[in-house]
Assembly symmetry: C2
Homo-oligomer: 231 residues x 2
DNA sequence: TAGATTGTTAATCGATTAACAATC
DNA sequence: TAGATTGTTAATCGATTAACAATC
């Protein structure tokens, strides 16, 4: 996938400067997962129509999304599964040996640390920190939990791309500040607070409470639909 | 909040039949959280502008979102925090004693079971199931883990609104089928698969892998922005 | 070759933002 | 009362869907 001339004779993708809409960004990992599943079953090719059916979206959308990053298919054929998967991995920054630290060794932190699914995309948790003397010194997923006071010095000595926050809400902002001070580039936040960070730092939050409330709302709506008048 | 006549003399909210856009649904829990924080600090009133600032959206959007459910504010004053919070809780179906079962007693399942944050909205996990003989019989969050083969009989005897799936991906669909057979109304799915369920069943999925990939992508974009040409 | 399917441009649809009368 | 802020309608913006020439 190098630079390609288009009709006008101009280069496309001279610089990938276009901002990708968040709606598209959220679909990229889904494409990746579907492609990975197909590749695991040794499926060779896939059409935008097939991918779209799986995701309950329009085939045009699949093609439009992918075309933001390049031309990966062939007319009349579709997409080669392995090739497209590989391109998506590159787009998503997978398999580049991304390093993480985890702060908060409670139940959720332990679950994340032991969740093996990330390793295969090249993500590695390098250290775990906690504040509680009862937790410090424990072994979680093969790592000895360190005192959170060592966090900033650790990051100075061992630069890491991503920090995971699995602490209670009240201390999450403080931890975020320390991670930022330590030069972290992204935060994966599981605490139910909106973190304030500099613009240069990316935050992805997983708010379990909000997720459950969403489900609760949908349930209630369904119920009212059936209770209410039938059209 | 009962029925109110509008200018045309027609009742509004005769039947809450309008479908709420998913974009709005996803913001409702955020409003709820912000209001709960304000209520905890004994703040009495809040304006759409203040809420909007917190959420980095437009004040119009806050008012428009809320107006889908009723008129909760007062001109020139804003919204009473406690009143609006209470209305949001009703809208979201919180504090109605929702019962859940959890399938999968691994690290993630244990974290969910021990995550105390849901209890305060009236969600209670009534039983935990697993397939592994090593896990069956263990006590997790005060509950003895049952054999997953008891799942369907259990649900027949003890109706439950929501099933949580914390199993590995390959068995998630099978578990979903059993939950549906047991009359469950909603599924909170942590397994990285798209579940096939009847239209009557709501699914909310939390895909940790997709979330981490999203973060990875944003990081890569940031990096390319700074590496690439400055404007 | 004929059939299929891409990449892309144009048309549609829906969500966000702006504006303002109503009124606390 | 004057100032502030809602609820709602209209205008704008962006995302999704449709259409089709290009071509494998």
């Amino acid at each position: 996938m190098s630079m390609v001339r288009n009709k006008g004779g101009k280069y496309k993708h001279e610089y990938k400067q276009k901002a990708i809409p968040l709606t598209v960004v959220k679909r990229l990992p889904v494409y990746q997962r579907l492609l990975a599943e197909l590749a695991a079953r040794d499926v060779e090719r896939v059409s935008s129509r097939e991918l779209a059916t799986q995701m309950k979206i329009d085939p045009s959308q699949v093609r439009q999304d992918l075309s933001l990053f390049g031309s990966f298919g062939q007319q009349g054929y579709g997409y080669r599964v392995r090739y497209l998967l590989n391109e998506l991995n590159k787009i998503l920054g997978l398999n580049t040996g991304t390093k993480l630290v985890l702060v908060g060794g409670g139940h959720l932190g332990r679950a994340i640390a032991n969740y093996g699914n990330f390793v295969k995309w090249g993500f590695t948790i390098k250290a775990i920190f906690d504040r509680d003397p009862q937790v410090i010194g424990l072994t979680i997923a093969g790592l000895t939990v360190r005192d959170v006071r060592e966090l900033t010095p650790y990051l100075r000595a061992e630069p890491v791309e991503i920090g995971i926050i699995c602490t209670p809400a009240p201390v999450a902002q403080e931890v975020a500040d320390q991670l930022v001070a330590g030069g972290i580039k992204g935060i994966w936040n599981f605490a139910p607070v909106a973190l304030r960070v500099p613009e240069t730092v990316c935050v992805e939050h997983v708010h379990l409470g909000e997720s459950l409330m969403t489900l609760s709302f949908m349930l209630k709506q369904r119920q009212e639909e059936s209770t209410g008048p039938k059209k």
